[in-house]
Symmetry: D2
């Protein structure tokens, strides 16, 4: 029996990189949070403190900022690919690279009825995400978003569930359903119109959430994932995580008031949490696609 080093990686997490395009009077902005991680033969750094194979995390950070200029940022997926390919191809000992990026959306300020050239307000909806892995097995891209807070005020039921000695919940055929959705989808190619596909996916997921008469959050998630896969052949797999943002009907009947699903208290904790993967039965092997750098919460 011996003690050995298993999976490991290191990198620079949460580089807050903002790129302004000033090619015309009408500027453009991309606002990112970039985390890089490298994998390879780093045992000497662990076992004897030998750094000769270790490209500093500070260098990884410099590279991200330099590439923002030299390569540009067409999309977070393509920018992640540029960085990952560079580390694997150009830095000798590196065998694998994992790049995770968050993007924060901005919308142009409206001044005198028109979009302003160089002023924006930060949009607060979902945060777009990408996770790129490049290693000997190939290139993997996962698109996604997190914290899309979405609510429907009717069209949701929960009934007919299993009960035991600890069950006190009542059935309902009309409730508020809300969640802060995290979605991640795995591409099987890198030949993708990234921004356009992103907008299309978000639109589909919102549509399914809105239009399905939901018998359970599970059913809603299934329809979301299924519709996404049916529309985009370039996607093999979707992972959805939906914390239930409970809105409990407040008992105002005790004050002589009728509450027909009009007054709710939004609860913080605890909350139901539903997680599911929906995929093609012939999905190609994911390799290290889902192995996280964990740099971003």
């Amino acid at each position: 029996m011996a003690i050995i080093l298993g999976d490991n990686q290191y990198g620079k997490a949460e580089c807050r990189l903002v790129r302004i395009y000033r090619d015309s009077k009408r500027h453009e902005i991309r606002d990112l949070n970039v985390s890089t991680a490298l994998r390879g033969p780093f045992e000497p750094a662990y076992l004897v403190g030998d750094q000769s194979n270790v490209l500093p995390t500070d260098t990884q950070k410099n590279t991200a900022f330099a590439f923002a200029k030299s390569k540009g940022i067409d999309s977070i997926e393509s920018f992640g690919l540029e960085l990952a390919r560079h580390f694997v191809r150009d830095v000798d000992p590196v065998e694998g690279a994992r790049i995770e990026i968050e993007e924060y959306a901005w919308e142009r300020a409206i001044v005198d009825g028109a979009e302003h050239d160089h002023t924006w307000l930060r949009k607060g909806q979902e945060i777009r995400t990408a996770a790129v892995t490049v290693d000997a097995s190939g290139e993997h891209v996962i698109g996604g978003f997190k914290d899309l807070v979405i609510l429907k005020s009717t069209g949701s039921e929960f009934a007919g569930f299993l009960t035991d000695d600890y069950t006190t919940l009542s059935e309902t055929h009309d409730r508020v359903m809300a969640t802060a959705l995290d979605a991640k989808w795995r591409f099987t190619t890198t030949d993708v119109a990234w921004d356009e596909v992103y907008r299309g996916i978000k639109s589909i997921l919102v549509r399914e959430f809105a239009t399905l008469q939901s018998l359970a959050l599970q059913q809603t998630l299934w329809h979301m994932g299924k519709a996404l896969l049916e529309t985009y052949p370039c996607i093999a797999e979707v992972r959805l995580k939906a914390p239930n943002r409970h809105h409990f009907s407040y008992d105002i009947g005790q004050f002589g008031l009728d509450n027909s699903n009009e007054v709710f208290i939004a609860a913080d904790r605890p909350y139901g949490l539903i997680e599911a993967t929906i995929l093609r039965d012939d999905a190609p092997d994911a390799g290290q696609a889902w192995r996280a750098s964990a740099g971003l919460a």
Copy 2:
């Protein structure tokens, strides 16, 4: 010399109250965080633990949820007034009430190109705020917002400043200026079209931020406040707090790349913080308008 009880208040903070209007198939939503606080002759509760004058904070919470149905929520300012007036008029020992409310905005989901009847996405921009005080001196309403994150990629300078032995900063005539603006404005009447005025004020503040060639964040704040007061005679005073969200130009010149204000690192801490009050020189007395319940951060 004696030890005495000074200013005090108590209440229920952060009631997360969601009101759905279901009067037609097209539902409406208002999503609030309500904090109430009462003031009056509560010395016995402190000195000898006598609660006979103390309306429980639990009761205050119940009242807020009941009023969401019985009075409705036209605006957070009017809802705050309803609650404050009730506590002062209807609960005998209470002499003053302070209601602080945050409102989170939602936008309708777009499904097949049309706004959906009962599904929304939470908008992430600014959080609207109101602080209402009712006491023997009258009624005070403060409107406002917090965390309006706004950025301009040019049109901002900082030069000609005072220097001393500890000054190392360089002058600049073109920089990114960004902030997460908090604004609070004091009304001199309660006869106001609250929602309409709110939209107007936000529009003015954004316009001034965007269009002024700024020599300092201070100057931008002054122009914001001045324009607001010139437009709305019903407002006596504006308080602005602007943390500088620094975007530092990243030195990519060391890698042979030209950085003409295109690649920035967004910093977390520390940050410049500018705070200013802009008011009419004949503004009526504010009474307890600015005394906070501190229930909301």
Copy 3:
């Protein structure tokens, strides 16, 4: 009627300053979050963008770090005084300075049963605070802490309270009482053994919380403040803010289990919030002592 500039200030918020003393093998550490703000004749910066009286916030930051070496950090109160005096005395246009500091405590790592010379674990209890104001009216020091999370599992009641149509709460004569206490105390002198007084005050506040059979959180706060003022003649006034961290008894009786105050659910929001000032009736004028820079939440 004219529009004018009212109260204003500017500064650098949240300088995360760590000072290591290495005078012997046994190092010492002080870990601070420093916010500075200056007050004075800064109208030209607002009205016409003239910065000639404006010492940059970047310079204020440099000064804090330089003083950490040249003056040292005996206590956060004395360090705040050094900085505030410097800005008012040495920087010509400055008329007032406000320094707010948080301090994070560390405890020495225990290795083989002994305290280690240069390794520490961050202690998670309360954050110590100081707010220093120096201006033409003199010098004011406010000590304090925030987020002292304290709980007692018995010895707390709540009964005999006022009721109205919205009251549903039951009386209790044995409950869990918990809070995350914020306390601020105003000194009337700067000739104080700051660290020793801090430890003494914390000890008194904890003792009163623990030993009083509490009829209300209000009564507990009064006894805390009174005991503090009786012990320390150098303190004129105490301000306490106590959010009630509710621990609700969980109804396990419905599962045939007896719950005699043994199983609780800790709630997040909403929460009761009690705020009170306790002071000497001959307390000297507070001047600008309580006017915050608001750099720290």
Copy 4:
């Protein structure tokens, strides 16, 4: 090709459960955050909204609180095992259960020099964690903690690293090293003195951090994990995640002051992030031990 449901689970996240033991005047407290998740044949809930196999998350919550009384909380590992076994054995369709628990430590208030019987202050150091999985393959327990913030002011170097065109970092042979350590260790048995082993492991990890002259954070992690495995035969594997809490020496030399590693600025983002697994080469299969419910961040 068909679209199918892959891995899925559902449960109740973040039940904030506080248990007081009142068997004598000297009370005891255990303060937990419990997340449960169930796995099994839940396809009908997804595909057609049929809930007949779905035990509500509300019931899972009730069970946790009931078990806090009926089974008690000896340790978070044993409590997690009780819950997981119950769901798998007693709830018919359930095939696997995953219980994740955080525990917050409290220390007794000191009153008049003695520990108080029923008053505590929350300790702010690390949060202890457990993750228990019970399914057809057996029982898996992972112990751990997160957010142990630890710092050494000397005894750390970083030199001899790989360089490329983007490298600007200088070597150093004396720096501050700090991290907020997350550690997770996998047991190969459930016959463990959980609380005692926890204290032992924490002590070992702190000792290794303190005493190793560190050539890299990687090397420190290796020594931590190795020492832990050498001491505890019941543990097969350790996973460590160490975000580098950078403390940069502040350049006060520009103000004529000598900075010999005495004045630092603590940075927020970005940060280096080192992750490693250290294990026995004959470690038994981990099964689903590391598959997270993700209920806790």
